[in-house]
Amino acid sequence: MSTIHVSTTINGAPTDFVCEHDETLLDVLRNRIGLTGSKEGCSSGDCGACSVTVNGRLVCSCLVLGAEAQDAEVHTIEGMADGPTLHPLQKAFIEHAALQCGFCTPGILVAAEALLKEKPEPTDEEVRYWLAGNLCRCTGYDKIVRAVQAAAAEMRGV
């Protein structure tokens, strides 16, 4: 099996890996780089548990090939906190009990961060539609929406 050598940047760190030509970015992150924070819930782009950004664009990493990360900037949940300081979204999720099992949480946080970059003051409906591609089976989404809004307010300084 021929493999591909890929040079990329993951959470700000220059990273090299080899992968099979049909290997997904999610499998690379989890099985080759050791970044298991991105989760596989479906491997078909339906659940959003593997959400990362590639060059700032929110994607399901199960639908991206590892090879596509060449020369790209990849951001995962592991890069969200600033060292020991949690991102306001991470803090808000804990404070608002917006996670139960926590499995969908990394993907939802990455997706919510992308939302707030684009729309610092979203309506509840905008939060719900933006996160419609991130399945959560535990919470019924109520506390997730509240936590995203609380973080958005904090980030706007209100």
């Binding site: 999720f93 099992c101 399945l135 535990c138 989404y141």
Partner: protein, 746 residues
């Protein structure tokens, strides 16, 4: 037991940050698929494309020749467990001579990479002889249906009963004939409910490592690692002590992770290859081969006086838990009328085999579908009699002293208070717009207690470690730690709770039946009391007074009165610091088979809007009222209520296992099996009531399951009122609404 309801709680009832929160928002938490081991192989399963077939032959020789393949297993590698139950579980994990459903495991491979394992599966040659199949519950019950297994009936069934019938049950009291004779109105209706999946986002996964000395370690996502240990040890022919099972963080379960699927296969692959083996199910495998709920069909008949009092009720439930016997319909038959004070009631439950995967528990198993039928008929009768459906429920509600429909007499229960809270809530009186309607339903769950072990160590700095054995599925580490802090009189931050593996603490029943906050909480409180007693002894020793003259208050020992002596309180930190000089380490523990769980009731109000053109149903407003006994961490109690409600909404509107005429599952993925997404829903208002459970020191009742029970009927009743024709077949998808409207000429 006395419940200290007048207690001025300091920690219980507050909302601290959960101790596993940071790990779970940073990606550090380790779930089933996140563990690795040196030399680890990847295991994959080959599954049957047939719903029912004889396995004529399996040839694995080509697969074994593929470079990188280290082991192949089939049913022939497994023995015959003594227990019929374990034998069924094993056969569900790996077929022997027959496959019983689309997706049934027939072989597995371990290889140096996942892609090699996948390639090897394609090299396995299997010859099947297809057999007639049946996947529909009513078809399987009918005379002449294909027989799935012979001689699996647990009861002597009446002559002429389908050979697929396995379980039968009957509950009730009173004279039905007399009851129906007193009724002014009798309504009889039939209902059907589709099988749904728990839909946990984390696929089942494990890492097994079997050593040549006969010992093994298993890491897996499960609701009950002791149960996994016991099942796998029996399947592998091991002694329990030689198999250590560690529960990873769990990415949802809802009952679906109370059994085993790939775990014994991974152990067998590891045993044969001599290397650790990781197995992660794909989402398609999760749908095809792990436990959906029962599918069901039921007939409900209720008699009512013109002022709304029920005089008699009857329900016959026909359920299927897949290709192996299932007793879930028994809980449905018990729960069907549990909310009401019935002068005469009778419920009958049947289970019948179908060519579907083995059913697994899903949040209040059996209750949602049974109660859907009963609550729908009550709604219809309220409409026909021109009565307020909430008043009808209040009039009939079970209360302390009511002989329940399933046998026991209720003690303190919260249904009437919950109904009154719903009646007085602004939601119930809020105006509705065009094409909108309101539905409501009661719900019930038994709540479990069960076998529990807790160990509580007092560290030398006076902080506390708790070791318990129930995977934390939704914040239980927080509630357990809070109860320990409450009892010890120390800050919550001074307590750290971990979930031990099967070798580190005594047996714990599975995290199921809403048992953990109740039973583990009870054992934790008693373990704390055990430690307190020991700490009081140490203080007495230092003060040189009688231990009986020492009491515990606010995290410190103190003389119980002026006669005991004049000593300032000695804090847990001081006692702990002196532990090595006063007799050694201090720890408390408690082991119990907890009873007194205290039943749970809830009431839901749903407002829907049904689009007249597309028949799409939108949930406009939703409120949950539920009795928590005492809410230890109210945020996570609300979370259980909200999450349960939304799962029930999914069951009511979207979710169903769809089998084709070929007996194959047609929607084994999240695109076609649609669980509710954020944009489908409004906020879910959660109103907690606290009617103390006399069986728990703080009055706690389990809260996990009741929330999924009412939504089925609450939503169905609302849609029914919106479209003007009764919806009796779940899920209430747009085509069904269109068809029902057309049939009613609307």
């Amino acid at each position: 037991m006395t419940t200290d309801t007048k207690r001025n709680f300091k920690v219980v009832g507050t909302r601290p940050n959960r101790p596993d929160g940071v790990d779970k928002v940073t990606g550090r938490a380790m779930y089933g698929a996140d563990a690795t081991a040196p030399g680890m192989l990847w295991g994959k399963v080959l599954r049957s494309p047939h719903p029912h077939a004889e396995i004529v032959s399996i040839d694995t020789s080509e697969a074994m020749k593929l470079p990188g393949v280290q082991a192949v297993v089939t049913g022939a590698d497994f023995g015959d467990p003594e227990s019929l139950f374990v034998s069924d579980v094993q056969e569900h994990c790996m077929a022997k001579d027959r496959v019983y459903y689309d997706g049934h495991a027939v072989a597995a491979v371990a290889a140096t990479s996942a892609s090699t394992a996948a390639k090897a599966l394609k090299l396995i040659k299997i010859v099947y002889k297809p057999l007639p199949h049946v996947t529909d519950v009513d078809a399987a019950f009918a005379h002449g249906a294909p027989v799935i297994m012979h001689h699996r009936a647990f009861e002597i069934l009446p002559p002429g009963t389908s050979a697929n019938a396995t379980n039968f049950c009957e509950f009730g009291h009173g004279d039905l004939h007399e009851g129906f004779a007193k009724a002014d109105l009798i309504v009889e209706r039939s209902f059907r409910t589709a099988a749904t999946h728990q839909g946990y986002i984390e696929p089942n996964a494990c890492l097994a490592s079997y050593s040549s000395d006969g010992r093994a370690d298993l890491w897996c996502c499960t609701q009950g690692h002791y149960h996994v240990r016991d099942l796998c040890a029996q399947i592998m022919g091991m002694e329990a002590a030689q198999l250590r099972v560690t529960a990873s963080e769990i990415g949802g379960g809802f009952g679906g992770k109370t059994s085993i699927y790939v775990e014994p296969v991974a152990l067998m692959l590891s045993k044969k290859s001599g290397r650790p083996v990781k197995m992660v199910m794909s989402r398609e495998e999760v749908f095809r081969a792990t436990g959906p709920t029962i599918s069901s069909s039921m007939d409900v008949k209720i008699g009512m006086t013109k002022d709304g009092r029920m005089t008699a009720g009857q329900a016959v439930i026909r359920a299927s838990g897949g290709a192996w016997p299932s007793g879930t319909m028994e809980m449905g038959a018990q729960a069907a009328f549990a909310c009401y004070d019935m002068p005469a009631v009778k419920t009958i439950g049947w289970n019948v085999l179908t060519n579907r995967p083995k059913e697994s528990a899903y949040r209040a198993p059996g209750a949602p579908t049974a109660i859907f039928g009963v609550e729908s008929v009550i709604d219809e009768m309220s409409q026909k009699l021109g009565l307020d459906p909430l008043e009808v429920r209040i009039l009939n509600a079970a209360d302390a002293g009511t002989l329940s429909s399933y046998g026991p007499t209720f003690n303190q229960i919260g249904l009437k208070a919950t109904l009154e809270a719903a009646k007085n809530h602004p939601h119930y009186k809020a105006p509705l717009g065009p094409n909108q309607a309101r539905g409501l339903s009661c719900g019930f769950w038994f709540n479990f207690g069960g076998n529990t072990s807790v160990s509580l160590a007092v560290n030398t700095d006076g902080t506390v470690n708790i070791t318990e054995g129930n995977p934390d599925i939704g914040g239980s580490r927080a509630s357990i730690g809070m109860m320990a802090a409450e009892e010890l009189g120390i800050p919550f931050a001074d307590v750290r709770t971990i979930i031990g593996d099967t070798a580190s603490i005594g047996h714990n029943d599975t995290t199921d039946g809403s048992r953990v906050t109740f039973a583990v909480g009870l054992a934790t409180i008693r373990a704390a009391r055990d430690a307190i007693q020991k700490m009081c002894h140490r203080a007495a020793q230092i003060w040189d007074i009688d231990p009986d003259a020492v009491e515990w208050e606010d995290g410190a020992a103190k003389p119980s009165g002026p006669n005991a002596g004049q000593f300032p309180p000695m804090t847990i930190k001081e006692i702990a610091a002196n532990a090595f000089r006063t007799g050694g380490p201090i720890a408390g523990h408690h082991e119990v088979n907890a009873d007194g769980a205290g039943v749970s009731f809830g009431v839901h109000i749903a407002d829907v809007e049904v689009d007249p053109e597309t028949a799409h149903t939108l949930i406009k407003r939703y409120t949950v009222f539920q009795d928590a006994g005492k809410a230890v961490h109210p945020s996570y109690v609300e979370g259980q209520m909200q999450g349960g409600a939304v799962q029930g909404i999914g069951w009511a509107l979207n979710e169903e296992y769809i089998y084709g005429a070929d007996g194959r599952l047609q929607n084994a993925g999240f695109l076609d099996y649609r669980i509710p997404v954020a944009s489908d829903l409004p906020m879910i208002d959660a109103v907690i009531l606290e009617i103390p459970n006399p069986g728990h020191p703080y009055g706690v009742r389990g809260v996990g399951e009741t929330g999924i029970v009412p939504p089925l009927a609450a939503v169905a009743n609302a849609v029914t009122r919106a479209v003007g024709t009764r919806m009796t077949d779940l899920p209430i998808s747009p085509p069904k609404i269109m068809a029902a409207k057309a049939a009613a000429g609307k």
